[in-house]
Symmetry: C2
Subunit: 207 residues, 2 copies
DNA sequence: GTCTATAGTAGGATAGAC
DNA sequence: GTCTATCCTACTATAGAC
């Protein structure tokens, strides 16, 4: 949360955060002990407290810095002069790039945010959720008005559908796997926009 | 896992399991203590061990009995003489009914299965995942062959998309809320099959 | 079927030496 | 910046009385 140092080069602090992030992502925040983190860093658990106040401080710094950057990208798209559909596609693509580039951070958010928001310290996660919801619902409603999106769907349900569908992919997506984030994004966009049915709403089946 | 009793009427055992399931669903398995469960049941933690071997036994029994029933319903649809599209819709609807009727069990599975499968005891969860994958990919490929589904999508990606999208809804769906599982299922089916775009693959925007 | 009492383990965090 | 040593707390599970 706070700017501790100049942070020009990769500090020990940042090294430790990267190690912690990977462990939190793999095992979950509660299921990762400070001893696990210290072991992975090759030091003893007590030494971690020279760098951080607490285990919570670590996950806080990890999530906050990731989200700040992510929202910057979102806002850039939203405030651009792109059309609704282009904005929609850009936000989805940015999200899959985040799953690729910041896999640990996204995994931590998906697995542990529900637990963390119970603490005051992580209230900012809720605020950003709301901001995200407003961005999406606004975009969907504008798209309906402009004839880009179907008018017969509930924007709130569609928002939850898209949000969950995109981010939950962090569970199976592997940054070093054969399937690229780009390819996944294109397939997901195609399904979200056009569906998987070969033809739309067949009235009657012929066979 | 084992049939302890005749189980004709709601036994104390089943009462305790229901209490545990709700707590596991709310707080997560690891974050629920045997003391929490005992407190909620109005007894002391030691007394729980008169009914169950361990905390793991409790979650085991909860998940296994739920999944057994769910798969029975799936297999019934799969082996029916319904068409591909009707089977697809039936499986989605059964899933949302499960989210409604067995909200705790689905939530536990979504939140804790990844952790539980690390233990031999919960290996059956992996087996059922594979079975589910085979059911879905088989159905999707059959649908492509019969012209029901688009041929340009990767069945594996579509399977993951659908599976995650449906089950992750347990995070926000409330069995006692205004939005019924039926309505959610219909909207999700509509998006999955036809997408949210007003028209398919517009070549050029006119406005 | 529940209680009392407790064993045994593991966790987050701290103080001060090096 | 790391180590040694340790405090305090909380957890799962057990043994035997009632």
């Amino acid at each position: 949360m706070s700017t501790q140092q100049q942070a020009v080069k990769t500090s020990r602090r940042e090294e430790l955060l990267a190690i912690a992030a990977e462990l939190f992502a793999q095992r979950g925040f509660r299921n990762t002990t400070v001893r696990d983190i210290a072991d992975a860093a090759g030091i003893l658990s007590g030494s971690l407290y020279h760098h951080f106040d607490s285990k919570e401080s670590m996950v806080d710094e990890i999530l906050d810095s990731f989200q700040t950057e992510l929202f910057r990208k979102y806002e850039e798209v939203v405030s651009s002069d792109l059309g609704v559909r282009a904005k929609f596609e850009a936000i989805i693509r940015i999200s899959f790039e985040a799953i690729h580039d910041n896999h640990s951070e996204v995994a931590i958010y998906q697995n542990d945010a529900a637990y963390l928001v119970e603490f005051d310290r992580f209230g900012y996660l809720n605020e950003r959720n709301l901001r995200m919801r407003r961005i999406w619902v606004g975009l969907l409603e504008e798209g309906v008005r402009s004839g880009t999106f179907r008018p017969d769907l509930d924007a709130e349900v569609v928002y939850r559908f898209i949000r969950d569908t995109v981010w939950v992919a962090v569970r199976w997506y592997r940054p070093d796997g054969d399937l690229s984030a780009h390819d996944v994004a294109e397939q997901y966009l195609s399904i979200l926009l056009d569906g998987i049915a070969a033809r739309r709403r067949p009235i009657k089946k012929s066979g």
